[in-house]
Symmetry: C2
Subunit: 204 residues, 2 copies
Amino acid sequence: MSREVGGEARRSTKWELRRQAIVDTSARVFAQQGYHATGVTELCAANDLGKGALYHYIGSKEELLAAIHDRVMDEVMAGAERVADTGGSPTGQLARLGEELLDVIHRYPDHVWVFLHEFPALTGERAERFRVRRREYEKRVEDVLRAGVESAEFRHIDPWITARAWLGMHNYTYLWLRPGGRLTAHSVAQPFSQIFMQGIARQS
Amino acid sequence: MSREVGGEARRSTKWELRRQAIVDTSARVFAQQGYHATGVTELCAANDLGKGALYHYIGSKEELLAAIHDRVMDEVMAGAERVADTGGSPTGQLARLGEELLDVIHRYPDHVWVFLHEFPALTGERAERFRVRRREYEKRVEDVLRAGVESAEFRHIDPWITARAWLGMHNYTYLWLRPGGRLTAHSVAQPFSQIFMQGIARQS
DNA sequence: GTCTATAAAAAGATAGAC
DNA sequence: GTCTATCTTTTTATAGAC
């Protein structure tokens, strides 16, 4: 059974599941070799599929790349939503934003790698959609910082540049944070949070 | 006149200058389009040269990529050298390391972009050389942090993970720090340093 | 749904004239 | 030193049989 939703043709649940598996497997290959350095033939081998069958699921190579991006942003924004819903002080919210973000990076190292390395390969509307979603998340961080300055929990920092410091510190863990390693998301989020909170706290 | 130095054939000064110009121009193209997405034909157009002439200077596309990497690491390590030579307290040294690093990122945005995005494209011996140099710099940061803990200037932080926080915060500026923009290297290094120093300072 | 065969373009690199 | 022409391989994507 297939339905029309939002102008996009939806396929069967089985098709969607298979597609998702292909997206995940391909993310691993892209992360290891790079997007442009990976041929469709290699994707076929990794997914144990012929070219005809693969294209039946992915549409195009770039659409596959966009699907990896969406997977990351879906998870990241869901985490930000949970934090916003729970509420609490700016300090508490920023700490939980860090926990959630590092959790995504830790759970999806390949997807995140591709997300942070290959976004310039997206073109046209796909590039724009990604840009908007990314900006949306960054704004969440800035808003929490602004709230903390206004409530005088934080000292008088610049929200924009401080958000960049926070984002860099956390995002850059994609280079070494992996499941199965000696570090968990929490064991990194904890010291990061301590440095950052103490760093922007109002001096007593 | 040509000499043999360290097993590598050196060319004339004119040749070296021309080559360096090609490296710089190509860095801009790689930064905009990606290494694998850029064809040698496009490099020829950007450098206003035919294929024969281009290959006369670059040897291979990957050798060109390696040259961009070296340009960045040469500058970064020179900055670290200056900091080490000047000496001073761990706090002062870490602050100056930040100034120097952001200065390189600000002055060579294209080279740094390529450096941070395309290093997986290096293979064999070239990949190894880059890995070693990069590790060498990271160790400098860890050493300063360790010294600060031992002198009790800093609280009891983990040097390895704290170095990653510092590196991420600074390196990640490659996404938005550019010459001609509203921000200078110093105007970013200053707030970053304040956050980080206060963040790892011994609580009074 | 999945395969094989193939198209059509572009890739990196080299040869040899000038 | 620089050019044009060319070699070989690989690229993304499609056609059509099953």
